[in-house]
């Protein structure tokens, strides 16, 4: 059976994804890009071109290049939206024989479906090339506000392109699917979709296996392109102020400026300031002119503030207004917020949305790809891929073992797919230690005492040996049913002990969430405690090493050096008993410098007879 691909057929760009080995994956197009411009053209030579290639010739072929055709899909020619779009679209449109819209591309008239089909055909062909197999079926997404005729038109476009359209799903629903939110019992979700040319807001309510669209809103003529335009205008105006030259008439300079502005916009999503450098942007009588300008994130945000504010206002209206205008929900009732569309990478937008709802929005998946990913998941569900008989679980919390200083040393990290098994070698903390205690813990906190104890057992009968020498292998094994077995074996004697913990993953969902939340809340304080313990552990090792070296060296070290070292050892022991991290660190540094004198004195003596180097202690249990 051929794979069902998921297609996000967007106004400006489209993307394709498919389920592979149980995971959604974006398929690159023939040009090696993860999204494809939704542009179709008939070149002046009469050739039909789609995507990036169509975009490359758009400037010189405005009448033969069709973009934004999604705005026309399934609409009547008399639709007020069409009236509005007719004004600015550079290509010609007219009423079709059944009252729909027809588009003039080159010398022919085409329906929006036929144009969309060209895009879909390219997506299909490229997906086939990438997958190395035929693709016959697809799930295609549409905006939640699309009516029946717009959905039907989209479906028809798929059929024209040779695809069996298995299902048309809403873009916000696809986004929710991508984040796995469909499995929730009862949730209210807001999808904030800021694309290149459109801003869509959707309010969804998820019930038992159903997703209901409660309200939709937004602005079909507000998008990231407006942001770019605004930045460009600002740069041109600033340059005119600074250099007295108007770049807006210079197509070449404008092109470079546009690229510079776009790069700056992207950089300001991570940096707070960036510089746009365009040497030799133009020239006048006095010689070449350069464009160099610093742009700060604050300035960028100031420039586009009105757009962000508008989007927030529209969002609030769509959520809170009484039906049918809005969903009639309180902002505080919303359980999840999802960000879609490239423009949502802008930190100011994330902040604005966070402020409005008082919670962090979902944004882990690439916002340009999340809808296609969701469509692929829907395809997987239809194909039966997702409901695999072999459902593999993950461990919800980290499983650790307690080591010296009450530190929880992770053995199996949270979110590891089970069954799984991990082994690590531990050692002893004291000379001639006869037994080690294995303390099995569950939780995200770095200190043992803050986590949940799952089991404790003792491995005894260790043969007498210096600290750090014994090798105790501890193995954690979780089987497919979530049952944890812990085994400890002393490599020297072959002695072993083990324990089986049935309820390792049997925490309730609330408990798991609580533990994860606690870990986040205490992260800083925990890190401090952990560094203190580590410093203490290092200090203790150092004390041990120093004392041992002094003993080993015997008379070869002069009395005054011995005395000085002993003093430093005592000093370090004293501060280690306390909790002052800096004092411990500084006393450790002093002692560590001081003990080098042992070596120096010994080399100054005659060549020593038998001095084995001091043993490096391992990670003692």
């Amino acid at each position: 059976m051929s794979k069902i691909i998921g297609i996000d057929l967007g106004t400006t760009n489209s993307a394709v994804a498919v389920m592979k080995g149980g995971e959604p994956e974006i398929l690159e197009n023939a040009e090696g890009n993860r999204t494809t411009p939704s542009i179709v053209a008939v070149s002046k030579a009469g050739e039909r071109i789609v995507g990036t290639l169509a975009k490359r010739q758009a400037v010189t072929n405005p009448k033969g290049t069709i973009f934004s055709v999604k705005r026309l899909m399934g609409r009547k020619f008399t639709d007020p939206e069409i009236e509005r779009d007719k004004v600015w679209l550079p290509y010609e449109i007219k009423a079709g024989p059944t009252g729909g819209v027809e588009v003039k591309m080159g010398d022919g008239w085409y329906s929006p479906e036929a144009i969309s089909a060209e895009i879909l055909r390219k997506l299909k062909t490229d997906a086939e090339a990438k997958l190395g197999e035929k693709v016959e079926e697809a799930v295609i997404t549409v905006p939640a506000y699309f009516d029946d005729s717009q959905r039907q038109a989209t479906k028809n476009a798929g059929e024209i392109a040779g695809l069996k359209v298995n299902r048309i799903i809403n873009e916000p629903t696809a986004a929710a699917l991508a984040y796995g939110l469909d499995k929730q019992k009862s949730e209210k979700i807001v999808v904030y979709d800021f694309g290149g040319g459109t801003f869509d807001i959707s309010v969804l309510e998820i019930g038992d296996n159903t997703v209901e669209v409660k309200a939709t809103g937004g602005d079909t003529h507000l998008g990231g392109d407006d942001f770019d335009k605004k930045i460009n205008e600002y740069l041109v105006a600033e340059y005119k102020k600074q250099a007295g030259i108007d770049l807006s008439k210079d197509a070449l300079a404008l092109q470079r400026l546009k690229e510079g502005a776009e790069r700056a916009k992207h950089e300001l999503s991570v940096a707070v300031e960036t510089e746009i450098n365009l040497p030799y942007i133009t020239s006048d009588a006095s010689g070449p002119k350069h464009f160099t300008m610093k742009l700060s994130r604050a300035k960028l945000e100031e420039l586009v503030r009105e757009y962000i504010d508008r989007s927030v206002k529209l969002t609030e209206e769509t959520v809170t207004a009484a039906p049918p205008k809005g969903a009639g929900f309180k902002l505080s009732e919303i359980n999840e917020v999802i960000l879609v569309g490239g423009q949502t990478r802008m930190p100011a937008i994330v902040e604005a949305v966070k402020k409005l709802f008082g919670k962090d929005p979902h944004q882990g998946i690439n916002p340009d790809e999340v809808v296609a990913v969701g469509a692929a998941i829907q395809g997987g569900i239809l194909q039966g891929d997702v409901k695999d008989i072999l459902l593999l679980d993950v461990t919800p919390l980290t499983l650790s073992i307690e080591t010296l200083g009450s530190v929880a040393t992770p053995m199996i990290q949270k979110n590891t797919t089970v069954p799984t098994s991990k082994s690590q070698i531990f050692s002893t903390a004291a000379d001639n230690q006869p037994a080690v205690e294995i303390h099995v813990l569950q939780g995200e906190r770095p200190l043992a005492s803050d986590n949940k104890t799952l089991a404790r057992f003792i491995l005894d009968g260790l043969p007498p040996s210096p600290r750090g020498l014994p090798q105790i292998e501890v193995t954690f094994d979780i089987d497919a049913n979530g049952i944890l077995s812990v085994k400890a074996i002393d490599k020297a004697s072959g002695k072993s002990q083990s324990v089986r913990i049935e309820a390792s993953t049997a925490l309730s969902k609330d408990e798991i969430e609580k533990l994860k939340k606690e870990a986040l809340e205490h992260a800083t304080e925990d890190a401090e405690k952990k560094s203190l313990i580590e410093a203490k552990n290092q200090a203790e090792s150092l004390v041990y090493l120093s004392e041992k070296s002094l003993r080993d060296a015997g008379d070869k070290v002069p009395e005054d050096v011995k005395k000085s070292i002993t003093e430093k050892i005592e000093e370090l022991k004293k501060v280690t008993a306390g909790n002052n991290l800096e004092a411990i660190q500084s006393a450790s540094t002093t002692l560590s410098a001081e003990i080098q004198k042992i070596g120096q004195s010994m080399y100054n003596e005659e060549k020593p007879q038998d001095t084995s180097p001091p043993k490096e202690p391992g990670t003692p249990s």
Partner: protein, 165 residues
């Protein structure tokens, strides 16, 4: 595998046989699931390996893209300097050195020139100008284009002819 079940009660064959059939079915399901999982894993490893190759090839794409911009500016600078007289030869050698470094990493200049017909596979039309060349033909190269291991990193930016008015 095909051994007859050892039935201690020949007059009551149904129960254990049903049980056996059920267990055999389960065994087949599990075995095929296991085989699939194993195959998936092996395939995944192969794909990952291929992907690593791709990453190694295109991993520094962003860096190279930015360096192309530097070469562009270098050329603009050279062109400006050339107008006011001859330039020290060493400057050209430095420029060639940068280009050479990028060439070794798979970068290749796209070969289009004025007079060629416009091909959107290789070039991007930035504007259209009147010229004595036939319509649709390249009049001027604005910025050279580059391929990285065959993939178009940046199309050649060109002016095309719209003929004479």
């Amino acid at each position: 595998m095909n051994e007859e079940p050892n039935n201690p009660f020949p007059d009551q064959p149904n129960e254990p046989e049903n049980e056996l059939t059920k267990v055999q079915e389960e065994r087949d399901t599990y075995l095929s699931g296991w085989q699939r999982a194993k195959a998936d894993f092996i395939n995944y490893k192969k794909e990952e390996f291929a992907r690593l190759g791709e990453i190694a090839k295109y991993g520094n794409e962003d860096l190279i893209r930015e360096l192309i911009g530097v070469i562009d500016n270098f050329d603009l600078g050279l062109a400006a300097l050339e107008k006011s007289g001859p330039i020290e030869k060493g400057i050209y050698i430095i420029r060639a050195q940068i280009e050479d470094i990028l060439k070794k990493r798979g970068l290749e200049k796209i070969n289009v020139k004025p007079g060629d017909p416009f091909d959107p596979n290789l070039a991007e039309a930035v504007t259209e100008v009147e010229s004595d060349k036939p319509p649709g033909v390249i009049v001027e190269i604005i910025e050279p284009g580059y391929r990285l291991h065959g993939k178009i990193l940046r199309p050649t930016r060109i002016k095309i002819s719209k003929g004479q008015s």
